[in-house]
């Protein structure tokens, strides 16, 4: 009997400790008097390809606005858009392609925004960055790939396995455009087992790094950050311009703080960090 009481007491104690920990925080918030110094948490949903740069920028932003804590969610823009659509709390959304942003933009027509979603705060959408799509290979480049043309040729005769993002991932969508440019049938290639799909660009990057495939199509910035060798860069004709739009969301609880952070992202300090890995201002 004694043992049961001791166990129950232990469980009760630990639960109450958790309760205490939780209840302390609101008390502290009320004591931080001035509204200007109020601690704000900004939920920023950004494309996976921005992981390294955005984290660095958040550290820099701390020096400028010490009361703002930035909490990130990095994933494929398609996943992020689905999360936002299903009610996730987000203040600022940066997507790796206009498509995902368009699907949340009520000003776009029904073909582009079929569900007529209205998530963007008016007047805050802008084109933040431009990136490049590249062909990356593992360290030993086992199939000796030299360019996108070479990749197309080797896909046609079935001698290479390509890793790409799936059709919900922006970099996957850019890859589909490149395949179409070379008049390759993605479905046919997939049926021959020549394509492996990743669910975001970081997964594709890791798989290329681990040599799980012969090559992968990722962004120049990811190749730089993962120190991967690249053998080709996609031109405008192959996949269009790679634009990263950004917007504050309507449901944001701190729209002013979100707008301020977005402004900072366009400033010289942030741009220096972005350009350091291969991003550029939209031309």
């Amino acid at each position: 009997m004694k043992k049961w009481w001791m166990a129950a007491a232990l469980v009760g104690l630990s639960l109450s400790l958790f309760g205490c920990g939780g209840s302390n925080k609101p008390a502290e918030k009320k004591e931080a008097a001035k509204p200007a110094d109020k601690k704000i948490t900004l939920n920023v949903y950004a494309a996976a390809s921005m992981t390294e740069t955005m984290k660095k920028i958040a550290t820099e932003y701390q020096k400028v606005a010490s009361n703002v804590e930035i909490v990130y969610n990095f994933d494929s823009s398609g996943t992020l858009k689905t999360q936002i659509e299903n009610g996730a709390e987000c203040d600022l959304f940066i997507s790796a392609a206009p498509k995902q942003m368009n699907q949340l933009d009520v000003t776009k027509d029904a073909k582009i925004n079929p569900k007529k979603l209205d998530f963007l705060l008016e007047g805050t959408r802008l084109n933040l960055l431009e990136n490049k799509v590249v062909l990356a290979v593992p360290e030993k480049n086992p199939k000796g790939l030299k360019s996108f043309d070479d990749l197309a040729a080797k896909l046609k005769d079935g001698s290479v396995r390509l890793i790409m993002g799936n059709s919900d991932v922006p970099v996957g969508q850019y890859t589909q455009k490149i395949l179409a440019y070379y008049k390759l049938d993605e479905k046919a290639l997939a049926n021959q087992g020549l394509i492996s799909y990743g669910s975001n660009v970081k997964e594709v990057t890791t798989q290329v790094k681990e040599a799980s495939g012969d090559c992968g199509v990722i962004y120049g910035t990811d190749a730089y950050s993962a120190k991967l060798k690249t053998v080709g860069q996609a031109t405008k004709e192959m996949c269009g311009q790679v634009i990263y739009p950004a917007a504050v969301l309507k449901k944001s609880k701190n729209p002013e703080a979100a707008k301020a952070f977005l402004k900072y992202l366009q400033g010289a300090d942030a741009m220096k960090i972005f350009e350091g890995v291969g991003f550029s201002k939209v031309s």
Binding site: T79, R161, A190, G193, I195, Y197, E210
Partner: protein
Amino acid sequence: MDWFPLWNSLRIAAVSSILVFFSGIFLAYYVARLPKTVKGVLDVLLTLPLVLPPTVCGWFLLIIFGLTHPVGIFLQQYGVKFVMTWYGGILASAVVAFPLMYRTARGAFESFDETLAWSGKTLGLSDTYIFWRIRMPVCRQGIIAGMVLSFARALGEYGATSMLIGYIPKQTATISTTVYQLWRTNDEYSAFIWVLVNLGISAVVLLAVNMLEKSSREKRLRR
């Protein structure tokens, strides 16, 4: 509709289950006979994949069999590659399902009445005969339970499988990874069909096992 994932999932689950069945019962039998400390340590190691999240298991498998790591590079020279191949799925499913068979078999063997084995020995029967014809039939219920659990776990494996063999249509796609991909690419209709297929398989397997148990029970009662 591409039915490859059905064939792939079934063959991965079937082969994993066979591997896990034999390794599970043999290890359960031998580990029970080891000294206490060794038994304790081995128990923890062999049950670990059950407690670890599948993604952690997948991570461990990758750092052992990945193509940029020693074991993976060594095996690749002989043409054996567990990454991005369908038999890599067997490895992942077997590792994750093993503890289920092992622990269930251990439990069954430990509640086995040893006097039956000893009587067999006094009659001059070999250890192999005693194991397969006395120990196993008596522990049948536990063993069958272990088999069902490990088959089900192998069929439903997602985390470790996805990390080790990825998603290559017509090569390494399983029902679990296919449903995820179809959901991600907004093909809800196809995803739903796969969900129904999976429910169907599970129902058939469980019904078959139930019927097996019933008939074995009736056979014993009739004797």
